[in-house]
């Protein structure tokens, strides 16, 4: 059953396209990695799926296993966020439930929200940092917090933009393990972007190599070959 169907998408920020005639079907419950060098269009494709960018041409269709537009969990690249903002970890995660946040009074956080936030932070090993300021955390911890916000509202489709970039190997492995477990338990469809070939892409069931166009798509072990990576990156040194 198809969860997301990307049909003939073309888009660019200036007159030159960043993505050209992208066609991709992702099944419900699948975990897909978008792999490619910087500027290859990975983040742009995620933003188009999330509805943040309207493509020049083509369309996104969501499969019949989901509502018209599925509940989306989104994790942007952290560099675009002001990490000096006066906000605590639990407040960041609670934003994922902003439309369910109301308690007795509009500004009051309901018990349901507090429990959901606590549970997801507990699952990610971050409950002890709930009251900490987001800016006080390490890069890896910040990743976990934004991941917590992405999953706190039980999404049907999870879009993660470089979820492990900047994290140390242990945090990276934890995040991947947690995502696989979440996918196994809830059948959530996951599309993530990465440029980490060994640490991330090799641990995913399906990898789509992107560089303006889809260069290769398939099982990680079939896709991540020397020839394919040379075609995508133009270099093999990154191996």
């Amino acid at each position: 059953m198809v969860a997301v169907s990307i049909k003939d998408i073309t888009y660019g920020y200036t007159h030159a396209p960043v993505l050209e005639r992208i066609n991709l079907d992702v099944s419900r419950g699948e975990v897909v990695g978008l792999l490619g060098p910087n500027g290859s269009g990975k983040s742009t494709l995620l933003k188009i799926i999330a509805g943040l960018i309207k493509p020049w041409s083509g369309s996104i269709e969501f499969g019949d296993g989901m509502s018209n537009r599925p509940v989306i969990g989104y994790m942007p690249q952290v560099d675009g966020i002001d990490l000096d903002f006066p906000i605590t970890v639990e407040e960041v995660v609670a934003l994922g439930l902003w439309n369910r946040s109301r308690g007795v009074m509009p500004w009051h956080t309901s018990r349901y929200v507090r429990e959901k936030v606590y549970n997801v932070l507990e699952d990610l090993g971050m409950s002890s940092k709930a009251k900490s300021q987001i800016g006080e955390l390490s890069g890896g911890e910040q990743k976990r917090v934004f991941l917590a916000r992405a999953i706190v509202h039980d999404p049907e489709l999870l879009l993660l933009d470089e979820p492990t970039t900047g994290a140390d190997p242990s945090t990276r492995d934890d995040i991947l393990r947690m995502l696989h477990e979440l996918n196994r338990k809830t059948k959530v469809t996951i599309i993530l972007s990465t440029h980490d070939i060994i640490g991330v892409a090799m641990n995913l069931p399906r990898v789509v190599c992107l560089n303006k166009r889809i260069m290769v798509d398939g099982y990680a072990k079939d896709v991540l070959t020397k020839d394919n990576l040379l075609r995508v990156y133009g270099l093999i040194d990154s191996m």
């Binding site: 903002f85 407040e91 934003l95 902003w98 800016g135 509202h153």
Partner: protein
């Protein structure tokens, strides 16, 4: 002592003074509250821009014999929307958009005043603030505006927080961020207009920004920052308005000087705290070194 008390309390005998003080507290508080969102959005210059822009609208509406609030409001809304649109286009940065749009509005006002010599109204109060310029209508307007602003932030605090913290994700999660921007611009324009008689359009920016940055330096908690900024705004505006009466100075300028003084004190407090921490750290390090 009794004489001093009588002197200090003497202004409260005047109705216009009490009116001015009530308006000052409301103006200071509401600008302090709004200022938190302005500062955290990284658009500190917008208050400065909008207040200058509405001056043109006020002068034009006065010339056309229309209530200056109506002209200033229309002008403020148009300027606010224009600033938002131009800065969202991506090609022109927000500061540049504010610079050109607001200065043009201000220039229109100055041009009309300087070229038309038939004005009966004194625009000095509008430029620099004057306790004598505050009318009963001003008091009613600022009271209503304060209630609307506080109600808005109580009801939509989470949406505002989500939008200014992480606009992109907020959009994915169904927050209508463009609508939030639009409503925020309207609120800001309304507050600027309701405030301009007490503070003056040329000085208003400091009253929006100073309490918020002082509060930011004192706390890392968003809710506490909202409360602190509102309180600092209200207290400095009260003190400024009171002193402006005693010294017969422009109320806007006096309030701004009080806001700036609080900011200065907060900076000194932070420096003192940092030095104190460094000294303690040094002593602990020395103690460790001597005992191990």
């Amino acid at each position: 002592m009794n004489e001093l008390n009588t002197t200090l309390l003497q202004p409260f005998q005047y109705e216009f003074f009490i009116r001015g003080i009530i308006v000052a507290i409301l103006v200071g508080g509401v600008n302090g509250l709004l200022g938190v969102y302005v500062v955290l959005r990284g658009m500190s210059y917008i208050g400065h821009g909008l207040s200058h822009a509405v001056f043109g609208g006020a002068v034009v509406s006065h010339m056309l014999n229309i209530n200056i609030y109506i002209g200033a409001l229309l002008w403020g809304l148009i300027s606010s929307i224009a600033i938002n649109r131009v800065s969202r286009s991506g090609k022109v940065r927000a500061d540049a958009a504010i610079g050109i749009i607001s200065t043009t509005g201000f220039a229109v006002g100055v041009f009309l005043i300087s070229s038309t010599r038939s004005f009966t109204r004194n625009f000095e109060a509008l430029l620099f603030g004057n306790i004598l310029g505050i009318t009963y209508l001003d008091m009613i307007v600022i009271a209503v505006v304060s209630i609307v602003v506080v109600a808005f932030f109580l009801l939509f605090n989470r949406i505002m927080l989500f939008t200014i913290f992480d606009r992109e994700t907020a959009k994915v999660y169904g927050v209508r961020t463009d609508a939030v921007d639009f409503v925020f611009s309207i609120l800001l324009a309304i507050v600027v207009i309701a405030t301009m008689n007490a503070i003056g359009v040329t000085l208003l920016a400091a009253v929006i920004v100073a309490p918020a940055i002082s509060a930011r330096l004192l706390t890392n908690n968003f809710t506490k920052m909202l409360i602190l900024s509102t309180v600092i705004g209200a207290i400095t505006a009260f003190a400024g308005m009171y002193v402006s009466f005693l010294f017969d100075s422009a109320s806007g300028a006096t309030i701004v000087l009080f806001s700036a003084s609080v900011f200065g004190i907060v900076i000194l407090y932070r420096v003192h705290k940092q030095l104190h921490r460094r000294v303690i750290h040094k002593h602990m390090h020395k103690w460790d070194h001597e005992h191990h």
